[in-house]
């Protein structure tokens, strides 16, 4: 557990980077420090590994005041991942990852073997081990940075905007991998970002900082979204916070069986009639799947003659998919983004199990407010409308 006890950082020119910060970071969880530029989030985190020293107050790890520990020794026990990775350009990827163990006195051979395993763990091809950082893409460099931080198996990891410098697609992958790694490793992670969506996605707890180094709110993501502590937090979280909060809401959704066509089938005469139990003005859309029953898109039956063989080119790509482990937000999005107005629900293997309608999702949201069901449930026996 990392604790801040009335910690302040004031610079000689009078700037208050951090104002009287007191909070406790729980062990084994991801805590995200989030806020706009100049809010002191990075300064606060850098006080944990003594890259910056506080002007007042005490930072302690597991009860021990870190100012009593020799700084380099302290840092070798803390993983440190920064933006742009900061990899050593003159060393191979493998040697980069093996840095801290070697510093701690392990033999280079052992350290390299362990490093190779770590590369697997962060999802990197072992063939990259002998390459130099300059030969890697931004996303790959960041993964090496994470591997390097994990090498000495430190209980604490500090990550300062590690994914900010990569493009959104790679960033989403890296975020998912971090969540996966954390599930395996259970480290105490302090993560810094300026992106509220990233904070909400990754954090078990979020600390929202305001400009001037003030801690505005420290709570679980759902609470920050639904009950912001003040105007600043509400503003920072943004206009979509109601929608974002849906990510944390689960409930039961009625699932409707859906008539499907397989690619290559001939379009029958009765295609596109309304699915059972749903209102008739949902148009003449038919869901098209492949041989594995995975959704490929929607076919507008008005656009093709009866008897026409369904081909990929005829399809309008469908919307996002609702999954059993997803939230109501996902389900709503699936319904809204589908050309037919019916959101496609799939099982863990990606096979179509039915569809849901937007208005039914909204009903489920209301019900969820009143109950407390875990996970998203599909009710395959909906009451007739």
């Amino acid at each position: 557990m990392i604790s801040f006890d009335s910690v302040s950082k004031v610079y000689p020119d009078g700037t208050h980077a951090v104002e009287d910060l007191s909070l406790e970071i729980p062990t084994g969880r991801i805590t995200v420090f989030v806020g706009p530029s100049g809010c002191g989030k990075t300064t606060s985190v850098r006080m944990i590994n003594r890259m910056i020293e506080p002007t007042h107050g005490i930072v302690a790890i597991d009860g021990r005041d870190i100012s009593t520990v020799d700084a380099p020794v302290l840092r070798r026990g803390i993983g440190y991942v920064i933006q742009n990775a900061g990899l050593f350009p003159h060393r191979t990827v493998l040697d980069n990852v093996a840095t801290v163990p070697v510093l701690q006195g392990r033999s280079r051979r052992e350290a390299r073997l362990a490093a190779a395993e770590l590369l697997d763990r962060v999802g990197l091809d072992r063939a990259l081990a002998k390459r130099y950082p300059a030969q890697l893409s931004g996303g790959q460099q960041q993964r090496v940075g994470v591997a390097r931080a994990l090498a000495a198996d430190p209980p604490v990891m500090l990550m300062d905007e590690p994914f900010s410098a990569v493009d959104p697609v790679v960033r989403a992958q890296l975020q998912d991998e971090l969540v996966r790694l954390q599930a395996e490793l259970g480290k105490t992670i302090v993560f810094v970002t300026h992106d509220i969506d990233e904070a909400v996605k990754l954090g078990d707890r979020i600390a929202v900082f305001a400009v001037g180094g003030r801690l505005a709110q420290y709570a679980e993501p759902a609470e920050v979204l639904s009950r912001p502590a003040d105007d600043f937090v509400a503003d920072f979280v943004g206009r979509d916070r109601g929608y974002r909060a849906l990510s944390f809401v689960y409930g039961t959704l009625p699932l409707h069986p859906e008539q499907t066509l397989v690619l290559g089938d001939r379009v029958p005469a009765d295609a596109g009639t309304a699915a059972e139990g749903m209102s008739a003005d949902h148009g003449r859309w038919v869901l098209v799947v492949d041989d594995e029953r995975q959704p490929r898109g929607w076919l507008d039956c008005a656009s093709v003659p009866v008897g026409h063989r369904v081909a990929v080119d005829d399809l309008v790509l469908g919307g996002s998919l609702a999954t059993p482990d997803g939230s109501l937000r996902r389900a709503l999005d699936a319904a809204l983004s589908s050309p037919s107005g019916r959101g496609v629900a799939v099982d863990e293997d990606g096979r179509v199990v039915g569809t849901i309608a937007a208005d039914e999702v909204l009903t489920a949201i209301e019900q969820a407010r009143r109950s407390d069901l875990p996970g998203l449930q599909f009710d395959t026996q909906p009451a007739a409308r």
């Binding site: 890259m51 020794v73 302290l74 742009n84 050593f88 003159h90 191979t92 950082p133």
Partner: protein
């Protein structure tokens, strides 16, 4: 010109106390000695200045000023002083080596300092954050990364010293310069050209050898990349190279 070729291909000119081999060894001796001393002075100094970031203005100023010193004038000044004040063999050699060292230090110093100062701050931050002490950061990270520039400085210093050692023949030093100076005194142009040619070959071959050594010493991960830096700093690097490359 053909006279020079005749002279060079005459084996008699290669043997003896005024022969090419002897002069080569002398020239090499002056060069390597001065370079070694200059490295011992300039490398640690440049490393410390680059690492701590202090005195950078002073260093650039001094390096610039030293570049402006006329090597011939300095040689003659110190040689004369040496003849008056010192006794024996060292009377001439000491001051001349001193001049060679003074001229070799600026390129090594400014390139070392520029190389270290231009290490990506993220790399430095990561190194510290991982738990390296200041010295470890300097030796394990900053110096290796600065190696390409340091080597570039070394090569420039080498050229500077070879050139100035040639001129040192004016104050009665040995080496290939003897052919040029003595040839001039006797108006023996072929010998002058032969001497000039030998100096040129020594410089080019030596530079090539240093380049090859550098290729092995510098990590392959560092070839040619000056990373994503704003053009102002690219300018510093260009000047550092040019500065170092200003031979005699």
């Amino acid at each position: 010109m053909s006279g020079a070729w005749t002279w060079l291909t005459d084996p008699a000119n290669w043997a003896g106390p005024n022969g090419v081999w002897t002069r080569l060894l002398q020239h090499l001796w002056y060069t390597l000695l001065s370079l070694a001393i200059a490295l011992v002075i300039a490398l640690p100094l440049g490393a410390v200045i680059g690492h701590t970031g202090r005195f950078t203005g002073l260093v650039s100023g001094v390096a610039n000023a030293l570049r402006a010193l006329p090597s011939l004038g300095l040689l003659i000044l110190l040689a004369l002083w040496g003849l008056h004040t010192l006794k024996g063999d060292l009377a001439l050699l000491g001051p001349v080596i001193a001049v060679l060292v003074i001229l070799a230090v600026p390129p090594i110093l400014s390139n070392t300092y520029a190389g270290i100062a231009n290490v990506d701050p993220a790399t430095r931050d990561a190194a510290r954050g991982m738990g390296m002490t200041g010295t470890q950061v300097l030796i394990k990270v900053e110096l290796p990364v600065a190696m390409p520039l340091i080597f570039s400085g070394l090569r420039s210093a080498f050229l500077q010293v070879v050139a100035t050692a040639t001129i040192a023949a004016v104050v009665s030093l040995g080496g290939f310069g003897r052919y040029v100076v003595d040839g001039l005194a006797r108006l023996d142009y072929p010998v002058m050209v032969a001497g000039a040619f030998l100096v040129g070959v020594l410089a080019v071959v030596g530079d090539r050898i240093l380049a090859v050594i550098g290729h092995y010493v510098v990590s392959p991960g560092l070839t040619g990349r000056t990373a994503r830096r704003p053009s102002a700093t690219a300018a510093d690097l260009v000047v550092a190279r040019a500065d170092g490359a200003a031979g005699g």
